[in-house]
């Protein structure tokens, strides 16, 4: 499955540098896949805690941890959920741990090692402006 780097407008005019973003749908929220920044340095896959109730994911009593993301201290709650990616032609679903974080002021979720990269062979073609993901056999 191929994902062109996400092109975004800059507030001052022009465009931001395109970023590697994969759209990951939570079970229960298939109509709104969350744009997730591919982050090879992140151990976890993280999304805003605002998404959990929208997808019907219960976080009460789940394990939590505090950590820093981009210099901001935040708290994460773990849930094992079914995730789906699609490029419109192919679709792949897998079960994975996702940390739902509050506060989460970041524009995207984070697709990290656990939860995302462990499940795919990922080829990043930054020069050409896209990335390919292939589910691990």
């Amino acid at each position: 499955m191929r994902f062109p780097f996400r092109e975004l407008p800059a507030a001052g005019g022009g465009e931001l540098t395109p970023r590697p973003v994969v759209d990951i749908a939570l079970e229960g929220l298939l109509a709104a896949p969350m744009g997730c920044l591919l982050d090879s340095g992140a151990l976890r896959t993280r999304m805003s805690a605002e998404l959990a109730p929208l997808a019907g994911i219960e976080l009460d009593g789940a394990p939590t941890e505090e950590f820093f993301v981009a210099g901001l201290k935040t708290g994460g709650t773990l849930a094992r959920v079914n995730l789906t990616v699609t490029d419109g032609a192919e679709e792949f679903s897998w079960d994975a741990p996702v940390w739902f974080c509050d506060p989460w002021p970041h524009p995207f979720g984070l697709a990290g090692l656990e939860g995302f990269l462990h499940h795919f062979i990922v080829t990043i073609r930054a020069y050409d402006g896209y990335l390919d993901i292939e589910p691990q056999p």
Partner: protein, 165 residues
């Protein structure tokens, strides 16, 4: 102006303020651009007049709104048709967030929504709102499916990297 036999005193500023806090419904064919967003003409005219949508046609609504200076166009079935429709529509008054009403790329379509949560499909912004909850509610209400949901970053620094420290 007269709509469906009723007389209304409408101006562009009044229409713009009436739409604050309201989310545009899905565009089926025709749209007008107000406050940097695409709106179904009938939704707008119904909102500002209080009339039932069955009381007037899309073309009447579109004509009334272009008279107030709002650009109008037809949703792109083909790009060339889309552009022609935009060029032919109404007076070129009322700047609308720099989009000109017919963004040619997703980047331009996203520009009016910097800082907001959006749901996109292809090069089209389906909805923009201040929270993911509103975006998801809109998608559910209108039976729409997005390709991606995210917040349009308000700076390069907002996505410079997010590795835990």
């Amino acid at each position: 102006m007269t709509v469906s036999g009723h007389r209304y005193e409408l101006d562009s500023r009044g229409v713009q303020s009436a739409l604050e806090g309201v989310l545009p419904e899905p565009i089926h064919e025709h749209f007008v651009v107000i406050n940097g967003r695409r709106w179904p003409p009938k939704q707008v005219l119904a909102l500002v007049t209080g009339l039932d949508r069955a009381d007037f046609t899309t073309h009447q609504a579109r004509r009334a709104l272009t008279r107030l200076g709002f650009p109008a166009a037809r949703a792109a079935r083909s790009r060339s048709h889309h552009m022609r429709a935009a060029q032919a529509a109404g007076p070129a008054a009322s700047p609308v967030g720099g989009t000109g009403g017919t963004p040619r790329t997703l980047v331009e379509a996203l520009r009016p929504f910097i800082g907001l949560w959006v749901a996109v499909r292809g090069d089209e912004v389906l909805v923009a709102a201040s929270s993911p909850k509103e975006v998801v509610a809109w998608l559910a209400q209108h039976g729409q499916r997005a390709q991606s949901m995210f917040r349009v970053p308000d700076s390069d620094q907002a996505i410079t990297g997010a590795a835990p420290q």
